[in-house]
């Protein structure tokens, strides 16, 4: 049965969005930990990483998520998807703390993980691809894309998922959720986790309590690499609009999944290749363009071209508005309308 598309009348008034500049990501995981500290420390959330950063080429989180289906086909019909297991997400390893610290065996037994340790959430870190001296890798941060056409929302038989009218943040209503997990099957980015303790599905909330107070999400504010622009896609004065709509250099991950993501990426340009004699070889890029096209679709060609052109301008001593925008000399400009300092807020404690 073809999907009846109701998006037009359901479009939110505004749409939050992020742009990740992959040329600047250090793979430091500060974003990952910022999110963990803030949102996923309760029981049942041990294995959750709403924000992840994986090395590319690599199998991603959960392992091989790109082969798990979900999303929509070219006719807009939902594709069946695989339910990612805890093991595929990398699980939360358990360690023999009790034995080592309280069992009186501290001098004989060493600290070690228990159970299956053949995969973790960042297992293939820094492996990358290519052959020395032309090996390459880059980091790919991912969060829920707060899609315009969310496959998760579209799947839930209880209407437990909503896309907020005021800003397009996609939220799971835990009072309505019955833990059926169709959303986890349907999301092609596999960005939803199941909480075994509470028997509900959970995912990135775009730090909506912060956004409500004009504070950027924690992952974005904490990023030391100035990778993560946060704001509204429909704000022509903001950097996101400029990068996505004006410059057209920021593009979504796997657009063919059909969910119209609202997280965009500035594709990576690696240093040039070296030939047999160790000389610079500019005949082909170090990161194969076909690989980037696999991730970001055909739009990556245009984006790379513009980036290269503007980079060359500055190299020649000229000025490039785009490069200035991407460098973000004034940190707070990255957040535009979400630039409020959280230290200026008065939070009321939960009672």
């Amino acid at each position: 049965m073809a999907r009846i598309r109701k998006d037009a009348e359901q479009q939110p008034k505004h749409q939050v969005s992020m742009v990740f500049d992959l040329n600047k990501c250090l793979g430091c995981q500060t974003c990952t930990i910022a999110c963990k500290r803030l949102w996923t420390r309760d029981e049942g959330m041990e294995y959750m990483w709403w924000a992840t950063v994986n090395t590319q080429p690599g199998r991603g989180t959960p392992r091989d998520y790109e082969k798990m289906g979900g999303g929509f086909d070219s006719e807009d019909v939902p594709r069946a998807g695989h339910l990612p297991t805890r093991g595929e997400f990398g699980d939360a390893w358990k360690f023999n703390y009790d034995e080592v610290f309280y069992g009186g065996k501290g001098s004989k037994v060493h600290l070690k993980p228990e159970g299956d340790t053949t995969w973790g959430p960042n297992w293939d870190e820094d492996q990358g691809g290519g052959e020395y001296p032309n090996s390459y890798f880059f980091y790919l941060p991912r969060i829920c894309n707060h899609c315009t056409h969310p496959a998760c929302l579209d799947a839930c038989p209880r209407a437990a998922i909503e896309k907020r009218e005021e800003d397009g943040i996609v939220l799971i209503n835990e009072d309505r959720c019955r833990g059926y997990r169709f959303c986890m099957e349907a999301c092609p980015y596999k960005k939803i986790y199941f909480n075994q303790a509470r028997k509900v599905a959970q995912k990135c909330i775009f730090c909506f309590p912060r956004v409500d107070k004009e504070v950027a999400p924690a992952c974005a504010r904490m990023c030391p690499g100035r990778v993560r622009f946060a704001g509204y896609l429909d704000d022509p004065e903001g950097p996101i609009y400029k990068l996505v709509k004006d410059w057209k250099v920021a593009i979504p991950l796997h657009p063919e999944y059909g969910t119209e993501p609202n997280v965009y990426y500035v594709p990576p340009i690696a240093p040039p290749r070296l030939d047999k004699d160790g000389n610079v070889d500019e005949s082909s890029p170090r990161i194969p363009t076909a690989y980037l096209e696999h991730l970001f679709g055909p739009a990556v060609h245009g984006s790379l071209e513009i980036l290269q052109r503007e980079m060359d301008k500055t190299r020649g001593g000229g000025k490039s508005e785009l490069m200035d925008l991407l460098i973000s000399r004034r940190w707070l400009d990255m957040f535009h309308n979400l630039d409020r300092d959280p230290a200026t807020l008065e939070w009321t404690a939960k009672t």
Partner: protein, 214 residues
């Protein structure tokens, strides 16, 4: 027609699926069919199970009794694959539910309709407590407040489950009376087959019941 026997056995015995009080009570065999995919509530649920077998449990035996205050329904079915937990994301618990029309004309195929609610009482293998929900059509279940008692045992490769509630209902749920009549249906979810929500084996037609009088 299934007759709900009137028994004066104590509540504890009636809540025990293995108790001898159940032996003399007639068991009615009901066939379970796959729920339809075409009427599932969302595009994803309509398409994703198209090529999957729905309704792994083909039939259920039903016995019922009341003690003037509560009704006890005993379900028994074969399920070699016992699923009691949700210890991983792709694991679903076994479950069963019985459903009554709150409004007599309510359709069973769609779990009632906007103006014709149904009331289902649910057991799930990962929970000690039963659950009552009222539905006004597929995808509209809302919990209702009154208590549903459940008990389950494994006997070989069988599940034996008791689902019980007070005869008198409140909060939009069904009310039953000694001497009165109603109709009911049964659904069984085979957790090992990933069955949950709208994917289950169900009785495609209502079965009439009569409650024996005092």
């Amino acid at each position: 027609m299934l007759v709900v026997a009137k028994l004066s056995a104590d509540h504890g015995a009636l809540m025990d699926p293995a108790a001898s009080v159940w032996q003399p009570i007639k068991s009615t065999a009901l066939a379970l069919e796959a729920t339809p995919t075409g009427t599932q509530p969302t595009p994803y649920t309509r398409t994703s199970w198209k090529d999957r077998k729905i309704g792994a449990v083909p039939g259920v035996g039903v016995q019922a009794a009341h003690d003037g205050e509560s009704i006890f329904v005993r379900l028994e079915w074969v399920d070699a694959n016992e699923n009691r937990s949700v210890e991983d994301n792709n694991v679903f618990p076994d479950g069963a539910a019985i459903v009554f029309p709150v409004k007599e004309t309510a359709p069973i195929d769609t779990m009632g309709s906007e103006t014709e609610p149904v009331n289902a009482w649910q057991w799930q293998a990962n929970s000690e407590r039963g659950r009552s929900v009222v539905a006004h059509g597929v995808g509209s279940t809302e919990p209702s407040t009154e208590a549903v008692d459940v008990a389950a045992v494994r006997s070989g490769d069988h599940w034996q489950v008791i689902i019980s509630r007070k005869l008198a209902g409140a909060d939009g749920s069904v009310s039953l009376n000694p001497g009165g009549a109603s109709r009911f249906g049964v659904a069984v979810w085979e957790g090992g087959n990933g069955e949950r929500a709208g994917f289950k084996g169900y009785t495609a037609k209502w079965t009439d019941i009569r409650l024996a009088d005092a």
